[in-house]
Symmetry: C2
Subunit: 165 residues, 2 copies
């Protein structure tokens, strides 16, 4: 561990559409990331598996490949837009990298942490929406138990968040 | 959140007999606690509930109050010794406070975080020994889900730890 601070740490923040991940990022920028350091910040957005639709829509027509392509394009645009907004918050950090990955966020984040040699993983305690979370289980819980590096779980205070936690 | 860094943050580190909590403390001293800051560091040691012994020992004699008192004294000495060693590591931090509390660590830590206005809770991912952990469930999991402030879970790397994680 010696030298991590001097050489810069690889800090990964998991970003999604929710306010909680942006709160976690903002909190980390104030509390964890040393100004003018060599810290390398990785903002990762994981596109969760798409809900499996029937090949037939309500009218009995097959989904065309156009529809699938449009959905895929929309999903990619959302990812890029969310990451772009997140990156704007990091203007005091010299090294910022954004990544869009696909799959179950629990597995993808754990694998990315290992593959990219991340030193600290930061996550909101919620994320990926109420319905997706119910489907996927708690991403932060899973990652906290499975990644090898320290995990920082940041909760958005209730005072600025109507959601129960 | 604004001003936390400038005014100093209240950082609580849960300490027990295990190496993992000392690793978590050391990691935090290098990665989280700003040198020469006004950060206030709280080292908390929770004496877990004692195993419930039968009032009779194997020979049929009642446990005397002497035995109970001796056990209590021993437990207090262990707590003080562990905290003293932990505090020695924090010689670069101006404000260090140690606390010994009693009860189920899951509840005690969550309550202390709220009562003392803690800004960040740091824990090892294990702690309280294999047997006690099996009995108590995962302390860090419980706290990560129940405290309102950010929680940093620090794992001791396998290379310096024979225990599976």
């Amino acid at each position: 561990m010696a030298g991590i601070t001097e050489n810069g740490r690889r800090i990964m923040v998991a970003i999604d559409e929710g306010d909680e991940s942006i709160y976690a990022l903002t909190w980390s920028l104030k509390n964890l990331i040393f100004q003018n350091s060599k810290d390398h910040l990785i903002l990762i957005y994981v596109k969760p598996p798409r809900v499996v639709y029937s090949a037939f829509d309500g009218t009995g027509y097959l989904f065309s490949s156009d529809v699938t392509a449009t959905m895929e394009k929309y999903s990619q645009q959302v990812a890029e837009s969310v990451l772009e907004k997140a990156k704007l918050l990091c203007n005091n950090v010299q090294n910022v990298e954004t990544r869009i990955e696909n799959g179950d966020p629990r597995d993808v984040i754990c694998q990315a942490v290992q593959r990219l040699g991340v030193d600290i993983l930061v996550m909101g305690s919620h994320g990926y929406g109420v319905i997706k979370r119910a489907f996927l289980g708690s991403v932060s819980n899973h990652c906290a138990q499975n990644v090898k590096c320290p995990v920082l779980i940041v909760k958005k205070p209730k005072s600025t968040d109507g959601e129960d936690n």
